[in-house]
Symmetry: C2
Subunit: 282 residues, 2 copies
């Protein structure tokens, strides 16, 4: 099933959805969005995603009086009820800076559109069976609480790499791992799961759910940045995201994690996530 | 005179130029561009701008076999020869990641468009008479050699400020000034002009010309980052850019520069820049 778009009050095939080159997203990267997973026609974690969306829009200087969370929810429901809308997929609402180029960082007339896209599988069978590798990207991610379209600086090192990496992971000049380019990052040591605190990283919706499930199931959580020096002695590592769910990390740069194979705790967390899905379907 | 666009082999009013929301510029910020000043229908510093453009495209992982500098130059000349093209203005070629979402950071099918826009004045009379203020933005600019559309992180602090600032200026956590959001930054101390070296900052075309003119006219140049601790004792500060040319900086954050008024060396550099314009018109 192909992609569907909502734009200027209408649903249309994604190929027909085009925005003017004067939009401040195109001119200056002023664009915020969300990726919300759809399972069997129902959005997962919709409320925290839309709350985060509103926060990103506001922090980006985009006029929030033009954003109506209830209305966006209604459009998502309308889209999902259509025959031409993928029922296993994701919905991505976007709010851009619009056409007024205000060099002072205020965007009074935003532009809104939404993409409904199929997701064949959250990850490949190879990624499930063998885990993935992450490429350390030595920089601070600017404004991590804003989910914006500015991913180029996470992609550049990946494009210059040997191609063996799933994505890049931000590590500060002092050796603190913050988050993956499109994911949260976790180290596991014994019964303890270590992950960066919100604020140093995006408030991951999957992250929040995973930490809830982990606590309910007896894991100890340490909310601090995993350190580079801890990689070699960690038992496991994994990343999480709304679309990819939980993915085992078996290598970070040149460092093998644990025994270099996907390991039991990441798998257990994935099983818990799947088993508890209905709690966050809306 | 309104803006003109070149897209998919045709010239058109800018309002008609729209790109698909599937483009990787819109999805992931994969977009590079240049702003080239046009004086009386002739491009200024065209060759260094197009060389930099090619380098940005390449570093961003965009397929360079799709970029032909000679062809872009021909399109610029064709545009400038048209009656509906602004003769005092700027031309902005863009190369985007195109519609193929390759998560590994390679973009095989880029999209190209170009905007010709009028520039009424490089800066306001008030900015010329009274100088401007810059807002310190405490972060490293990622990949400074790539001129990309990812400006959001320079705009956010500006949108949260009191509105008195012309733009933000990057300063590292150790107190080194690198560059303005859309400019290069200079401190003046006696006969010495201090500015960050290329690599720590974008290879500014105006920067190169200004340093050439300054050297020719007996100024000493120090290519190193101006330090925060040097601001209060500096005689002058200024920024440069292709569109704004040279602008006096009279305040950085809360620190007044010199006597708080536009001062003689920035003015002298601007006069040299204007007087020598024909050397870089192509």
């Amino acid at each position: 099933m192909s992609e569907l778009c909502y734009f200027e009050g209408k649903f249309m095939p994604v190929e027909e959805c085009r925005i003017p080159v004067t939009d401040m997203l195109i001119q200056r990267g002023v664009g915020t969005f969300e990726s919300i997973r759809i399972y069997n026609g129902r959005p997962f974690g919709l409320t925290p995603h839309l709350e985060r969306f509103e926060n990103s829009v506001k922090t980006a200087g985009i006029n929030t009086s033009e954003i109506d969370i209830k209305k966006i929810e209604t459009i998502i429901r309308e889209g999902l009820a259509r025959d031409d809308c993928p029922k296993e997929g994701m919905v991505k609402p976007y709010m851009t800076g619009g056409d007024i180029n205000n060099p002072k960082g205020h965007f009074p007339k935003p532009r809104f559109f939404m993409i409904f896209a199929p997701v064949a599988s959250a990850k490949t069978q190879d990624e499930i069976d063998n885990g993935i590798a992450l490429l350390p990207n030595r920089m601070y991610r600017p404004n991590p609480l804003v989910k914006s379209i500015n991913y180029l600086f996470g992609l550049i090192p990946l494009g210059q790499s040997d191609g063996s990496y799933f994505e890049s992971v931000y590590v500060t000049p002092d050796g603190e791992f913050t988050e993956g380019m499109t994911s949260n990052f976790y180290l596991v040591q014994g019964n303890k799961i270590i992950t960066a605190p919100v604020g140093k990283v995006l408030k991951g919706v999957t992250r929040g759910i995973v930490l809830t499930l982990a606590r309910e199931n007896g894991f100890e959580i340490e909310e601090r940045c995993p350190r580079e020096s801890e990689l070699a002695k960690a038992d496991e590592a994994f990343i999480t995201g709304s679309i990819k769910e939980i993915v085992s990390v078996v290598r970070v740069g040149d460092t093998t994690i644990g025994n270099g194979k996907p390991s039991p705790i990441a798998r257990k967390i994935q099983d818990l996530y799947t088993a508890n899905r209905s709690r966050w379907l809306e």
